[in-house]
Amino acid sequence: MADSIALRATAVAKAHPRARSEPAFARWALTGTALSFLGLFLILPLGVVFAEAFKKGIGAYLMAISQPEALAAVRLTLLVAALAVPLNLVFGVAASWAIAKFDFHGKNVLITIIDLPFAVSPVISGMIFVLLFGSQGLIGPWLAAHDLKVIFAGPGIVLTTVFVTFPFAARELIPLMQAQGSEEEEAALSLGASGWQTFLRITLPNIKWGLLYGAILANARAMGEFGAVSVVSGHIRGVTNTLPLHVEILYNEYNLSAAFAVASLLVLLALVTLVAKRIVEWKSGSELAAGRGESK
């Protein structure tokens, strides 16, 4: 009985495709609306960046991105990301090991606190380090007495970047490790492996895609952060300017084609990030998706 109803229902649905979908004009209108919206807000700005960057020809473009100040900004940006991202990866692994493999009180509070930096405005993220290390800051006078510079110098930029990229790795790894459980690790231990062996041979290979995914997202944010870093950097040309800050300076000097030329490097970084992210999603298959589904 139930079967025959279901059968008839499918037959009806097949005979009347409108039961499952919209009329053709509605489909076209919706697709058109979606694509125009994305075109207007996503693709067009990308086009603008490259059009403006090459406005004065390829020679001017290459000049702009090979200026000593631009190269210094590239170096600083790479250095900051190279320090901040691994630090947060180590934290992400440690935190997710504790959270996913053990039971303890206050676990949800801990997870919430880990997400906190995402809820704070970039400007406030920079401000708190000024309040801590700046000349009127809590330990500013002590630093000044010992001739140490944190704010308006490299260490402040690195610290701020660590803060704004803090949750990326942990946020990927916690649900992933929770979904995987700890049976495999328990088996390895009972077969005589040491704790570190278990971690290096079992856990790390299991979470490698999640780790890479977190690293890609954190890296994009670390290299592209503007608001937080601009508060602590002091904008010293060639010294404390990261790439986004260098773009701002050029732009404010009305050196537009140079600003967009340097910006185009950051656009390339964004596109590489999106492609790398897709590849990891595809390689890891349902692994990451399963982890994320579990977290909801």
Partner: protein, 278 residues
């Protein structure tokens, strides 16, 4: 925090992992954040109140909250359409379009800011057409809305997509067989379970937009009382070394956005109870 624990695992390394995590978390996140409260406490209540209710500051709240709300609303509508098209229809280049949706997460905000400004200013690709219609986008509140729409764009799409994928199409067939027109099926069968996800995306986009700085400062023009967002006001105060003033505004902003998020979470909890249990 209570680190007295109920262990159940035979795995080693809890002490090391937990100890390192809590130490690192405290040094990088908790200690720096606590300065907001410590610094505000150096102000008297009167000073604090005067700082956060100065006319220029009030105007900035109005712009920040208003533009974030409008931007999130635009994203709620178009995000639903984009998610629908990506889940239900096929067209060439769909996977590329799907990947591009995350662009605002990957593109540095300063780049987004100058690109949108160039596109929407008077002689820009879009701005010139808006100009002939008598609309000025760059350097007006509308420009702020455009920037905040851009940075919040992925949230609704990404929260709605998985929910739409899970909608059981047999239920739609049943609705059609029972005589519902397609629009009725959409509004009464498909939309209700998707609505809480739209609301989640809206909330995420809204709270992201509230704190946004990089993409807005270029397109806004930053005129006091008119196009000055609250985060910019905080930066201005910091540049004048008025740390206490900057912190007071930051704290006001944090509290206000926290209360708003709480309200929206309540609304979401209500909508989930109302519609989610289908």
């Amino acid at each position: 925090m209570a680190v007295v624990l109920k262990r159940r695992s035979i795995l080693p390394g809890f002490g090391l992992a937990m100890g390192f995590s809590v130490l690192y978390l405290s040094l990088v996140v908790l200690v720096p954040l606590s300065t907001v409260v410590l610094k505000t406490a150096t102000l008297s209540w009167d000073q604090f109140w005067q700082t956060i209710t100065a006319p220029r500051v009030l105007a900035s709240y109005q712009l920040s909250f208003g533009a974030s709300f409008v931007g999130a609303l635009i994203n709620a509508f178009f995000g639903l359409v984009v998610a629908w098209v990506l889940v239900r229809y096929d067209f060439p280049g769909k996977r590329i379009v799907d990947g591009l949706v995350d662009l605002p997460f990957a593109l540095p905000t300063a780049v987004a800011g100058i690109a949108l400004t160039a596109a929407y200013s008077g002689n820009g690709w879009i701005g010139q057409y808006l100009e002939t219609l008598g609309i000025k986008a760059a350097f007006t509140p509308l420009g702020v809305v455009i920037a905040l729409t851009f940075i919040g764009l992925p949230f609704v799409v990404r929260t709605v997509q998985p929910v739409l994928q899970d909608v059981d199409q047999e239920v739609e067939e049943a609705a059609a067989i029972l005589g519902a027109r397609r629009w009725q099926t959409f509004s009464r069968v498909i939309l209700p379970p998707v609505l809480p996800a739209v609301l989640t995306g809206f909330t995420l986009a809204f709270s992201r937009a509230l704190g946004e700085y990089g993409s807005v400062v270029f397109i806004a023009g930053n005129m006091p009382m008119r196009t000055e967002i609250t985060p910019l006001l905080i930066v201005t105060k910091l540049e004048q070394f008025d740390y206490a003033g900057a912190t007071a505004i930051a704290l006001a902003m944090l509290v206000a956005s926290f209360v708003l998020l709480l309200l929206m979470n309540l609304l979401q909890w209500w909508s989930r109870r109302r519609y989610g249990a289908l």
